[in-house]
Structures are given as structure tokens and as C-alpha cells.
Symmetry: D2
Subunit: 385 residues, 4 copies
């Protein structure tokens, strides 16, 4: 699939993750940096027909106006991107910025959500045509939303579309409007956040009808990654985990968003589902997400695991993970774009459970154990190869 | 294989690991404690024909004289064993202590090493006959030795046996005398320490000739366990580990033994081989083992992993593992006894690479990745089942 | 003041802190343990006329009925007390248990709070007379209460006493009923918890009128101790602390009590006041207290301090404190009893600000810096000497 | 003393610490950064007649040739200095670089050490005259040397000077040649490293004869700073520290130098003296310094403190300090220059024990407790004010 021009359309295209992904893609394309963190460059995935770095064309939606080169400069000041690299790809950033369109914002939007979705879809199809792209993968990397209230229309596509047409209603959260628009534009969709996005029965129905694959949700980049690696160890060694306590300190926009308990709720629920699945429900697992603005783009997570060994002896493990969220997420965004493009080309539809490897709360899979997810990814890749 | 009386012969039978294993076995047999930490009780190993807790009869060699009940009391004071449990099984401990014979000590021994080995083998065969045992698994849990100097006789059984007969020479370290004696007595052997033990070509030759299986070496119970779980994660995510620094604080007899740099050398070499195999040689990996007597039986390991993410951004992971070495090791000693007994019954010979799951420096296997070792163990167990 | 029989009356006399303090006192008296953790045994406090270990007679109130010997056994199982010690002082524990009376419980109490206070005071004066004590120091070590609502009567003793007489009202929280009763019985009072206790203007008025000293509040035993030691270092080195994040994992009764957000509020407020005083208000300082039952009497606190150095470079400090709350608190309870007894004998009245050394939220002092508190304690001790 | 032109002559003027100090001084002078980390800007030191930032003129010796602007660029890449700042003061860096002369190197030097010292002293006096400076403070920030062997001439100035004149001998290590030259040039001297430098009786004799003050040694910037803050807390609370284990991971030039065990020896000895003084000799205190090149200028130290509380209960404290050595050291270099200049102006001679606050291994003081050192510094400052 090298030489097949492929679009990457980012929801939240001027955010930290998107800016890092775009800067990195431009750098990779020019050989200015090695593909560290890019899973699709591992020998285990060789042979999968993926679009090359040169084949990817980027555009997107965003509700903020700060241009990409300026965003990248700020990330360089924060230590996320090397200054030299940002300077070297400044022209490329400006070009991508020209492909960013105004996102859907429920407060400022006038008209029905169906109108909004039509406009968003038109932006994407325009982009596809303008660049002669074989396909466009839409990836949501915008800010985390609060959990959406359940409404009956979420379970049925026909009912949903009636509600969308009603200018008095806002039946979908913005992430799901974006997912709906992507599907209507004939595009595969990736949910990189814990927002509702495509995770509604009505949207699954639409994806299957349109024969589109999708993947999600909530990129697994730090504390949860460690948990899905370590929890199976305790099981395999018959050690009894009694409590797994976690504190996450975040700065940046993510920290500010998650300071609002309603928004944090989505994230905490997403993290907790994984731990429950891995360890069972009788493990005490307090979890905190704190906004600590001075950390900037850095993220520090502390986990304390208390477990019982032979004859009930108590022992413990502590972990401190200090990372930069955008730098962890960005290469996975590029990986997912390539893999979902390949899946679409191969005619896969519906949730891609084999991509559970990438997600805290995988759609289409109940597997949370990282080693098993890795094996499943490689198996799937061989099928595609 | 339930109801098949099986012997467990411990080299270092009055050490902390042995005392904990014996106390635990007695408690398990009477239902006083759940089998936490016992891998052989997991559903994944159900169906393997293992000796039951009631079928195991314990004896051993040791060079120290403190009786088991007294050793167990001390471990209870140190928080390794519950006082209540030690009191409840005091009679059983006394009985096992009656089956402990004087170990081989190179300083006090008079005569050739062949003489010594004959005496050790006679102790084991006497035990086997006295209790009518189908087989005896010999497990080395004695103090770590310094690395043995290479001598030509280690590579050839005939030459080795000539040297053993020479009363002027001590061609084998004590752990290897024990292994030789075990094989001569027709017993499978398990090396739970990093000492030389059975890991010599001449002894492998003997094991194969006698059609005996063996397993080793150096039980994987803490820092190395974590490393073999976590290192593959960095690889699977294409993150570049730059350094993996470790400090181990130990008290107890282990701490005192490893304070001697010559003894520590065996342990450090054993740990380093695993990291090299997992991450390659270009990772900076300083490693320290410190004797900190006030920690008693507790062991604290701190690991600092520095790695590079997308576009070269530096990140880090820190781990602090606080455990009790004997409590981590003891159930694995029981597991290995049962599994090696089953392998012997099934006619397996030579190094049991499928038991790499249990060891820092696996014999008969190059696999260090814990998830792969787990899978291999289950696969092997199904073969036996 | 050696040889002056002195009473220690504990509110919450069967709790973990009280049980540890009593067991320890009995052990110290018999020379079974060194006075580790007892500040009053330091050379810097030599010369202060303190009651000796033999001079202290213990009694108290509690709302629970489990006898002291049984409580001590449980603490020994949890690793707080050595089993041997508990056995050795079992007789002494029984004797003290005989001096414990039913505490005031707002739910089961019938009659006015004045009635309750009279009964509590009578228990204390009876104890004083029965044992011919020169004085009785009353120390509150009962469970943390939620913050008490402000009511006007708290500011004026006459108004308060009118309200206390009204059987329809419960104008004081239980800790303040206890403080009021102590003062009415002519006893100095120590608030070892963050509950309201004596910290009301009306009770301060009563203490001064009765010429009684008091001290409080909220014993400083772990995370806050470290903060008051470390925060001044950043100041003295002109380093700018940007955030100080904390997570406390607690088991035991304390964990269960503080799981209720209303109760945790008192503790969190008490901790936060110290950090504000030390670092100013512009430091981000999220703080969590989690109930993790499997930790039992153990307590683990993790602090993450993010600070700026020269030219704005970000740096960090992490702390993990793993302690046993009762073992940290108990010797301070004995110290405070001796010091407050000495202060009473010397005619001191009102809040003893010089004892800020012992408290998270010191009464009668604005000094939170530990080194300054230490100096002030030694200065005050020399005055008394 | 504002408006009194004062020289700062750096031994190792192109090293990381010096480059950071110079860049910072230029930035402070132009108001581009606040004086974070500069103790001399605290209100407690107001009133001391210090040279202002504008009054300081910088020169120095170095054996390496990379120019300061280039060094500063590299430090900016490593996150030690903001890129913007380095660009803003590039002209100033070039100017200072013009004042750097070739340092003394024992391998390449031809002639006696007396010749070398004369040349070094002439460089300093030339600098003083060229800029019309009231005084020049010489500060050693060059790489750590191995401990110097004891020779009799170190104890007697006359004997030392005879040996210096002998072209066949190298009686002094380079740091002491630099100190000797400084004193001969009539300059106060500061030892910011653990090298021998001025810490020889013969050089003390010379300093007193020349009526010059000096200060040292080994700037206290991280792990040891924490230790001197925390160790007194354990003492004040009568807690018994049993072990204090430390591991230091360093990159950069410092890491490479200290990888050589001979060089590390100086540093380890310097650190150990402090802990012994604070806690006594019976505390187990393993200490490691590891070279971990990928950490660059970052430094991570982990300390594990094991202590006993009431009734012997074991507890622990862990610390992880993650800092940038140069950023911690540089403002102290500026502070020391100003304070030693003021001491010289005030006629102080010999070791300035009141500056123990700044050093791991203070000359002229036995006080290691940080709070007491702080108090002593403030008291001394008030004397000068």
C-alpha cells in the first residue's frame, strides 16, 4: 500500500497530540528523526501493506485558532519537541495548518446537528478530493468530554437521524457528531480519547452499513499501559493483589480539562474498567487525576500495589512513571492511521478488536492483558500481510 | 500422580527459603493457609499429574545445626511467617528436622569429593527407601557461592570422575558436589540459586545418561521478575531504553553472603544476562547489591529506567519492590518440586527449558520474556496433562 | 517532678494509638524496650521536672468495649507491637482496662450535654482521687470527627453553658464535650486529633479562668512532619516550589473513618493550613486520603514536589513515607502527657505554643517550620528546668 | 559594596556549572530572569554589602577550548538553559570567553609547579588590573580529582614552596596549584568541588599570612542537602535510623569523571563525612555513584532510609531527587562570590565556617545540620551588614 495517498484527518488538529504527531510525521518524512515509538516500524509488522510516511496527507478540524507553527513552538518551549526540528519543518506545519477547518462547537453552532455533520463531512470529502486520496482516516484527539447521558436514540440509527434533524436538540456529544460525520463521509474512525465518539450502537450500525472499520478507545500511554503489563504477572505468579492505588499529576490542557470532575469521570471510568477486567472487583483501587499546571506537558503517575504472598505476607510495588503525554500518544496516532487504513483497504468493517493493544478501553475486545494484545496484533498483522 | 509419595530433598534445608517452604507445606496440608504464590494451584495447570501436598515428604542437607522449629520462630519474629502458623505446625517441623543430615562442607571434609558425594547420595537413597518414595526431587536453596573457576574436567564426565576421586583436589564447588550426588542417587535436580550447581557440561552428560530431568537456575522472585515483565513492553511499543539502573538492599543471611563481592558476582552476572537478552548490550545497566542488615528478611529493590520516546524525548520509570525473599521463593520451590516430579514420571530428561518461567538464568532456554515463558509453561503443562 | 503520681486520661482509650501508648508505657516501665520515639528522653530535655514512667497512671473513656489485652493482640498480629511484649505486659493491660469508662456518644446519650460532661468529669475526678494523683492530663486520641458547624455559642462561655444545659441541643461535638469535661474537672487537655476539641474561644476562656494549660492539635507524625522539615529548605535555598501533591493511603480504623469525606475534611484542612503557612497560597497542592483496608495499621504517603531552580529549570522531589501511625503517635502521647503535666505544675495556662513541634495545626503558635519548633521546644524546656 | 567592581575567576570556566553561572549572571543583569536559587537575594541577607550583578566581571582558567557560546548552546539542548536566554546573551558570553586563559594541566606542563602557579597568578592579576577590580574571588568548579596522597610538604608552607620549585616534582594536585596561585595573587578562594584545593595546612597558613578568607568545600546541591535537612528530624523525634542507602545516577561530564572509582572516592568520602557527623557511625550507609550517560545534565538520586520507631517497629522513607546539577550549583557560585567578596572587604581571614550552609564538607565548621547552618549564615550576614 506504499504509494497509496492516504489522508489523516484529526479532530482537535491544533492540540498537543495532533501538533506532535504532525511535526513528527514531517520530521520522519525528511529523515530528521528515527521512528522511535512507532509500532508500525517494528519488524513484527513488516509485510503489512501500510501507507508510507510520504503517502500521508494531514488535515483536520479544531475549535481553536492558534496556528500549528505557533503551537509547535510552545511545545518546543515545554520540552515536548526539539526546537531544531520545529524550525526545520515550519513550512510543512504552515501547509497542514491550511488544511484545518473550524470544528463543531455546540455553543456557537446554529441549526441542527445534522447540518453540522453535513458541513463536517463536506470538509473531509473536499480534502479527500482536493488531494486525490484513496481514503481518509479520521482520528479524534480532541479534549476529553464528560460522559454523555444515555438516550434511547443512541441505540438506533433511524431514531438517531430523526433526532439529529431536529434543530432544537443536541442528541450527540461533539465527539459523536464528529464520528457520525466521518462515517457519513465514508471514512474509518479512530477514538483516541475516552469521549463517547463512535461507541454508540447507532454509530456501530452505521459503520457496518457503510462497511467501515473503526477503532478505540482512549490511547493507552502511561499508567494504564503499565497496569496491563504488570497485573497479569501477579496472576501468573498466584500472588493476591489487595489494592492498586493511583495518582496522576497532569499539567497542560489535559490537566485543566480533567480538573473538572465531570470530564475526569470519563477518564477514570475508562481506566477502572481495565483494572477490574484484569484483577477482579475485590481489589481496592482509589484513583486520582490532579491538575498541576506547572508540570506543563509532563505527566507523573504514582501507583502503589499492595499484594499478599505465601502465607499471607504483605508486600508492595511502587511505580512512578514520568512521561510527556503527547510524545507517548503521537506515534500511536500515526500507527493507528496506517493500520486502520490497511484494514479499510482489506475490507474490514466494524470495531477492530485486534487493535486493543493501543487502548485503555478497547472496542471489540475484552482482552486487557498487554502481552496477549501484542500477540493478537501481530497475528492480525500477519493476516493482512 | 496424586497419592504417589514423593520426596523433596533440600540442600540448605535449614535456611530461610527452606524453612518457609516446609512451614508452608505443613500449613497447606492442614488447610491453615491458602496456596497464595503457588503457581501449580492455578487453573491453567490443572490436569498435570502432580503429587499432592499430602504426598510430599521432606528431608535435606545443611551445614548449620539450628533446628527447624527455632529457625521458624526467628522467621516469625522477622515477619516472614505468622506466629500462629509456626506454633500450629511445630510438631511437623520437628519431624522434618529429623530428616536433615549434615551437608558437605569443603573446609571440614576429609577424603575425596567422590567420598563426599557417595555419602550425600546414600543419605538421599536412605531417605527414599525409608519412606517408600517413588522419587526424590533434590532442590538447592543453599547460600550463593562465588563463580567457580573454569577447569577442563567440568566439560567431560569421565575426566570429572577421575578428578573427584583424587583426595588432593576439590574440582567441584559444593553446589555441584550436591548436584552430582543427586544424579548419582537417581534424582532430578533443581538449582534455585545462581551457584554453579548442575550447570556444567559433565553433569548435563550424567543427567542425560541417567535419564534424569533438571531445572535451573536462580529463582526469579523480585527485581528480575519485574524486568522480564516490563522490558518487553518497551520493545513492543518501540520505545528505546537507554539505561536500566538497579539497587538491591538486602538483609538476612542473603545480604551477608552477597556483601562479599565474590559471591555477589554470581548473582549480578545472573541478573545481567537477562537484561542483555531482553534489551541488547547497548543499555547502560549499573547494578548494586547492598547488605543492609537491619532490613532482616525484607528486600527492597529500586530500578530506574530511562527511555526515549517520539522525537527523542526523555522519559523515565521508577520501580520500588518491597518484598520478603523467602516468602516469594518458598512457593516456587514447592511448585518446582511438583513439576519436576511430574516431568520425571513422564520420562523427560535433561534441562527443562519450559520451566524458564521460574528462573533468572534459565537452563535449556533463551527465553527471558515473562509472558512468553508463561505461555511456554502452560503449553508444556498441557502436554503432561 | 519524678515521684509525683500523675494521671493520663485517654479519650479513645481502646483505640490503636492509646493501646500502643499504654503497652509501650508498661514495657518502658519494666525496661523491656528502649524509649525510641520518646522526645522527652532526649538530652536536650534533661532537667525538665517530668513525671517518670513509674509515676504515670492510666485510665480513660471509650465508646467501644473490646478489652485492651485483646486490642493489643490484634495490633501485634498487624505488626504494630511485638507479640512477646504484649504477652509480657498482659496483666498491666488488664489493670488499665479496669480504669476505662464508657465514653460520651451523642446518639445513645439521654439528657443534656451538661449532664454528660458532669458524668465524664466525675469519672476523671474519681480516678484522680482513687489513685491520689497530683494531676491528670486528658488526651484526646479518639477518631477524627467532621468539622463542627460554627455556632455563636462557641465564642462565649456563658452562652455555651446555657446551651449545654438544654437537653434538646447538642451544641458541641463529642471531642469538645470531652475537653469541656476535662477543664471542669480541673485537668489540662491535649488535642491529638484534628477534631474541634478545645479549639473554641469559649473553651479557651474556660481554660484561662481555671488556670489550666492545653495543647493541640493533630499530632504531626508523617507526611506533614516531612513537609515542615523540607519546605523551609526550599525557602532557604531560594528555590520556587510550584506544586506539592500528596496521596495518603491508610488502612485501619483511621482509614475507614477518613473514607467519609466529611471526616477527611478536618484532616485535609489541618494539613493544608501548614503548607499554606510554609509556602504561601500560590502553590498547587492537591491532597488525597484514601482508605485502603488491606494496609491495616500501615500508612503510606507519597509526596511529589515540583520546583523551579535557576533560570526556571524544573526539578522534582518525591517522597514515600511508610510508617505505622500508632507507633509514630504513641510516644508523642506519652511525651505530651509529661510535658503538659510539667507545664501545669509550673503554673502555665492557656495554649502551649511551645509544643507546636508535636502538631500539624498548632494552637498558640503560627510557627510551622520544624527546626524552629524544635528550637522553641528546647528553649521552653530550659525555662521549666 | 554595590558599585565596587569585583572579579569572579572560575577554575573550569567552560564547564557546565561555570557556563550556567555566567549565562545566568548575564541574564540577571539584564532582568531576563528572576534570581531563583540565589540565596543572596533573600530578605534575610538584605543589608550585607554585596557587589551587585552589574559589578561582577568574569574570567577564568580552563584546559578545554570549546568556546562559551557553544557550550551554552549544548546546555540549552540538554534542557539546562532556555534557548531564548542563550541567544539573548550570546554577545556577553563571547566577551567572557575572551577572558578565559589556558588552565594548568600536569601532563602538558613543562617546568616546576612554582612556574605554573606564577603564570596562573599573573593571569589573575592581569585580569584584575585590566578591569580595575577591587578584588577577585577565585572559585574552583573544575572536574573532581582523585584524593591526593598525603605528603609531608602539605603541612608546612616553607617546605611546600621548596618542593614546588623542584621541576622534577608535582607535589600538589591541580586544584591546589590553582588555590596556591589564587592566594599568591592576593585573592580569596572558594572550593566548590571535593578536590583537595585549599584544604591543606600549608595553604591555610598562606591564606592567613596573606590575610585572605576562603570557603569550601563541595557544593551541597542535592542528595546531601536533603540528608542534612532530614537527618536532624529523626534525631529530634528520637527515631533510630538504622540504614541510609543511596544511589546517584549522573550523566554529563560529572558522570564520566566519577565513573573512575579514584575520582568517585573523593565525592563519596565527602558525602559520607556528613552522614557520619549527623547520625553517628553505626548507621549502615551504602552509597553509589553511577555514570549513566543518557541522563545528560540530569541527576537522579534515590535514598532509602530505614528507621526504628516506638517498640522497635521498622519504618522507612524513600526519596527521589531529580535535578539538574548545574542549575542547582550555578546560583550558589554567584552567592559565594558575593559573600566571600564581602568577607574579604570586611577583613575576614581563614576558613569561613559560617558558609557551611553551602557545602557538603564544610571547612572551618563541624556543623552539618542544615537548619543550624542557615541560622549561622544569617547571623554572620547580620554581622557584616
Amino acid at each position: 500500500m506504499a504509494d497509496v495517498p492516504t489522508g489523516l484527518w484529526l479532530i482537535g488538529a491544533r492540540g498537543s497530540v495532533a501538533t506532535t504527531a504532525i511535526t513528527g510525521l514531517l520530521a520522519l518524512r525528511r529523515g530528521l528523526a528515527p521512528p522511535t515509538g512507532c509500532v508500525t516500524e517494528l519488524p513484527e509488522l513488516a509485510g503489512v501493506p501500510l501507507p508510507g510516511w510520504d503517502d500521508l496527507v494531514v488535515g483536520g478540524h479544531d475549535v481553536v485558532g492558534t496556528a500549528l507553527p505557533e503551537r509547535a513552538e510552545r511545545l518546543a518551549d515545554g520540552g515536548v519537541l526539539p526546537h531544531r526540528l520545529v524550525e526545520a519543518v515550519a513550512g510543512g506545519l504552515r501547509a497542514v495548518d491550511g488544511e484545518i477547518r473550524a470544528g463543531y462547537h455546540p455553543v456557537t453552532h446554529r441549526g441542527s446537528q445534522a447540518d453540522a455533520a453535513r458541513r463536517l463531512a463536506a470538509d473531509i470529502t473536499g480534502f479527500r478530493e482536493r488531494h486525490g486520496l484513496a481514503r481518509v482516516v479520521v482520528v479524534n484527539v480532541s479534549s476529553t468530554e464528560p460522559p454523555a447521558p444515555d438516550v434511547a436514540e443512541h441505540d438506533d440509527l433511524a431514531a438517531l437521524e430523526r433526532a439529529l434533524a431536529d434543530p432544537e436538540r443536541a442528541v450527540l456529544p461533539p465527539s459523536s457528531v464528529a464520528a457520525y460525520a466521518a462515517l457519513r463521509a465514508g471514512c474509518p474512525f479512530v477514538d483516541f480519547t475516552p469521549s463517547t465518539g463512535i461507541a454508540l450502537p447507532a454509530l456501530d450500525e452505521l459503520a457496518r452499513r457503510e462497511r467501515l472499520p473503526y477503532a478505540g478507545r482512549d490511547g493507552k500511554t502511561g499508567e494504564t499501559l503499565l497496569r496491563t503489563v504488570l497485573a497479569p504477572m501477579f496472576g501468573a505468579r498466584a500472588l493476591r493483589v489487595r489494592s492498586w492505588s493511583g495518582t496522576n499529576l497532569l499539567g497542560g490542557g489535559d490537566g485543566a480539562t480533567l480538573e473538572d470532575p465531570a470530564h475526569a469521570q470519563s477518564k477514570i471510568a475508562s481506566k477502572a474498567r481495565g483494572l477490574d477486567a484484569l484483577l477482579g472487583k475485590d481489589v481496592t483501587a482509589p484513583l486520582h487525576i490532579d491538575n498541576v499546571p506547572d508540570l506543563g506537558e509532563r505527566k507523573t503517575a504514582w501507583d502503589h500495589v499492595s499484594f499478599e504472598g505465601f502465607l499471607g505476607v504483605p508486600m508492595s510495588l511502587q511505580l512512578t512513571w514520568t512521561g510527556i503525554d503527547s510524545a507517548l500518544a503521537a506515534p500511536l496516532v500515526l500507527d493507528l492511521t496506517r493500520l486502520v487504513a490497511a484494514a479499510h483497504a482489506a475490507g474490514r468493517t466494524g470495531p477492530l478488536g485486534a487493535l486493543a493493544f493501543f487502548f485503555k478501553d478497547p472496542l471489540g475486545s475484552d482482552e486487557h492483558r498487554f502481552a496477549e494484545q501484542t500477540r493478537e496484533l501481530y497475528r492480525w498483522a500477519q493476516e493482512l500481510a
